[in-house]
């Protein structure tokens, strides 16, 4: 095992202002009643900036600005011109990629390697992909001249702050809608930088509006009578509340909710590759991933070697400074999330599962949780049923493919699943039977703007990405 010298990325490329207003009608404005909250660096607990908290009056203003921009500008603009704005945004994101990646890691706690090599390139790719749809909607397969819906209310989580923004805003604008987006309260900074990017691209005022705040701001936004479409990514609990709140209205809704993905390893799988996939499946982004492979199902005959290899691999994961280019696992996003991970992990121990983490030194400040696995887990254990949203893996076993399917599907969630086997016919057999919106075979956590993503069952409805992602923003 080597020791690496620290290799921190410089913060000098980022200019964080002491305080930020709301982005409404193309300008940064103060909130109506002047309240604010702080956003911190979860790796150090250092305050990064003062953020405005949007109240009802601010949400009203933002929705009105979006409506005006929709009626007067955006819905009337030819698709080819909407496309050009989206292409401009995509290019600016590429040009300022390093700055954005550093800011994302500072505010979110994720390793720079991931924000730089995964998140931000995908953000640019999403804008490029949907830019090309803006002038081709007649050919998207939803009939001739599909119409935009109007004003879209979008509420996104803290785990992939700018990536989730791009999943929401790019298809909405391409289809001709205008948006009011609320980023998560712990990770607003890259959304506010995106607002500056909209200004830099000369996007017409009101087409994109960003209101910062917490749950109450989000509720005001999705329940606002002036919005035509709601797109939410977050917990299943909040998703159900939104589904109830829109009952009897004509608002269209798409929900990307929780998951408890099974990652199924058969005895003929290439073990080293499978172990890389298991690690990527649950420890990528500190396990703050709705499609994380948090339930490992290993065929009993290879349980010992898989587990031994997994533990060996986990002992080499580097936990620490998110801005260090060698870091594998960064900080937990907030104190509240750390508390939830600890609580559920403690319950795992109390319910009789065996807990293991590699020896690792965690920093003194900030929110940290060592990569953890539980063995001897049964399907009834809470750690096998509830989404933990952290670097915690539950390991279960199976004997036959039928049992693997049974256990993998034994959850109210249905977002994603993984299969590891050398046998092609078994992959296709499993892929048919797994009740999940995404099935990764001999790989995990792969994303692409051309590829629809979304859940079955209580993981929500609608798809983001690809041609299907457009449908969510069109009146079809």
């Amino acid at each position: 095992m080597f020791e690496y010298a620290p290799a921190p990325e410089s913060r000098a490329v980022v200019d964080i202002k002491p305080s930020y207003g709301l982005f409404i009608d193309g300008k940064f404005v103060d909130p109506a009643d002047g309240t604010s909250f702080k956003t911190i660096n979860p790796a150090s607990e250092e305050v990064l900036a003062e953020i405005s908290e949007a109240g009802q009056a601010d949400v009203d203003r933002a929705v009105a600005a979006a409506r005006k921009a929709y009626d007067k500008v955006w819905s009337k603009m030819p698709g080819r011109d909407r496309a050009k704005y989206l292409y401009r945004i995509a290019r600016i994101i590429q040009e300022r990629g390093r700055e954005i990646a550093v800011l994302e890691s500072l505010d979110n706690g994720k390793p720079i390697r991931e924000s730089r090599d995964v998140d931000i390139p995908l953000v640019a790719a999403h804008f490029f992909y949907y830019a090309g749809w803006a002038d081709k909607l007649d050919h998207a397969g939803f009939g001739p001249s599909p119409r935009a819906l109007g004003v879209a209310a979008q509420v996104i989580p803290w785990n992939f702050p700018l990536l989730m923004l791009s999943w929401k805003i790019a298809p909405a604008l391409a289809a001709g809608n205008t948006v009011v987006l609320k980023p998560a309260e712990t990770t607003p900074l890259t959304a506010l930088l995106f607002a500056e990017i909209c200004q830099q691209a000369d996007l017409p005022p009101g087409v994109v509006n960003i209101v910062t705040g917490a749950g109450e701001t989000g509720r005001s936004l999705v329940e606002h009578a002036g919005v035509d479409k709601i797109a939410f990514t977050g917990s299943t609990e909040v998703g159900k509340a939104i589904a109830r709140s829109v009952a009897g209205s004509r608002k269209k809704v798409t929900l990307e909710l929780g998951g408890k993905a099974a990652n199924v390893v058969f005895e003929d799988a290439p073990i080293d590759q499978a172990v890389e996939g298991i690690v990527n499946g649950i420890f990528f982004n500190q396990g703050h991933v709705c499609c994380a492979g948090s339930r490992l199902l290993v065929q009993e005959s290879v349980y010992e070697p898989v587990l031994a290899s997994l533990k060996r691999r986990m002992a080499r994961l580097r936990v620490g400074d998110p801005l260090d280019k060698n870091t594998d696992i960064g900080a937990i996003n907030s104190a509240a999330q750390l508390d939830r991970i600890r609580t559920l992990s403690d319950i795992g121990g109390e319910e009789g599962a065996e807990r293991w983490s590699p020896p690792c030194d965690l920093p003194d400040h900030g929110f940290w949780f060592a990569p953890t696995i539980f063995t001897g887990v049964t399907q009834a254990h809470r750690i096998a049923r509830e989404e933990i949203f952290g670097p915690v893996l539950s390991v279960l076993t199976f004997r036959t493919p039928a049992e693997a399917v049974e256990k993998a599907n034994n959850t109210p969630y249905g977002l994603s699943a993984g299969v590891w086997t050398d046998k092609g016919s078994r992959i296709l057999w499993m892929a048919d039977r797994l009740r999940a919106g995404v099935v990764w075979a001999n790989t995990f956590n792969k994303f692409d703007p051309t590829s629809p993503f979304g859940g079955y069952k209580e993981s929500g409805y609608g798809r983001e990405g690809g041609r299907h992602g457009l449908e969510a923003y069109l009146d079809v």
Binding site: L257, G437, V438, T450, S451, H468
Partner: protein, 273 residues
């Protein structure tokens, strides 16, 4: 004394799991001059159990096979055309309903090609998206026979199974359709039809945790529609709301009644040698 033959009257019953039981509640009501079974909460639960049991076989059948069976339903409908017009339905509506059924039958092996496809991802991966049925779908039908066919056929052609609550005052065409379905090689449980009062039974269906989706096409009371949609949120059922304005079932149906009850599954695999 007259020589006129005394006709055999028909008892109208429910259709659950391929069988024709009476309501377990023993209740009936008068509709269209007949005594019709008045379904209860327990009948709804039995129908959901039957529909769930049928999901595996029906969703696992080949699209070719499902198409054949739906087309067979159209054949049976054509053969029993007089039975429907005898209920007082306009001949043109019966013809439209038969044609509508034929139209949907042909979608079974085409929807995957039209709605799914390969995704050109930026990397060495095979990446394919395919539509799959969502599972058990609750359907509250409008009173028109063409409306009933227009909401039922799209649910089952894609591999879902259905629990149908018929319009309170126009149940006889639905019961007659059940006889058609029962003689069409459609596996028992794929379609279950409950006559009665949807205002009584629909809340149980909308709140049932083993129902995946619900179509409120026949709900005309906005307050009931809202409460059903709220109940459906309990397990995030996919919902088709009632039409905004009175539906004209003769209009081109488009694809949305099918796609609303489909999930898109995307499968990734690395490419390499």
């Amino acid at each position: 004394m007259s020589d006129a033959r005394v006709s055999v009257r028909k008892t109208y019953k429910l259709f659950i799991g391929g069988k024709f039981p009476r309501s377990e509640s023993g209740r009936s009501y008068l509709a269209q001059d007949a005594n019709v079974a008045l379904a209860s909460r327990k009948d709804v639960r039995d129908a959901v159990v039957a529909a769930r049991a049928a999901v595996k076989g029906w969703s696992g059948a080949t699209a070719y096979n499902r198409g054949q069976i739906l087309y067979r339903v159209a054949e049976m409908l054509e053969g029993r055309r007089d039975q429907f017009t005898g209920l007082g339905l306009p001949a043109a509506e019966v013809d439209d309903a038969i044609d509508r059924w034929v139209w949907y039958a042909g979608w079974s092996d085409k929807i995957t090609q039209v709605y799914g496809g390969a995704n050109p991802v930026a990397g060495p991966y095979f990446n394919l998206s395919s539509p799959e049925p969502t599972g058990v779908v609750g359907v509250i039908t409008p009173p028109s026979f063409l409306g009933l066919v227009s909401v039922l056929a799209p649910v089952i052609v894609t591999g879902n199974t259905a629990v149908v609550l018929t319009a309170r005052d126009a149940p006889l065409a639905a019961v007659t359709l059940a006889e058609v379905l029962a003689t069409s090689d459609l596996p028992g449980g794929v379609v279950n039809i409950l006559t009665g009062d949807p205002a009584e039974t629909a809340p149980w269906l909308a709140a049932h945790m083993d129902v995946n989706a619900i179509d409120l096409a026949g709900v005309t009371d906005p307050a009931l529609a809202t409460s059903l949609e709220e109940a459906a949120a309990g397990n995030l059922k996919r919902v088709i709301r009632p039409p905004a304005k009175a539906a004209n079932w003769s209009d081109d149906p488009g694809l949305t009644r099918m796609t609303a009850f489909l999930e898109t599954k995307t499968v990734w695999h690395p490419k390499g040698i």
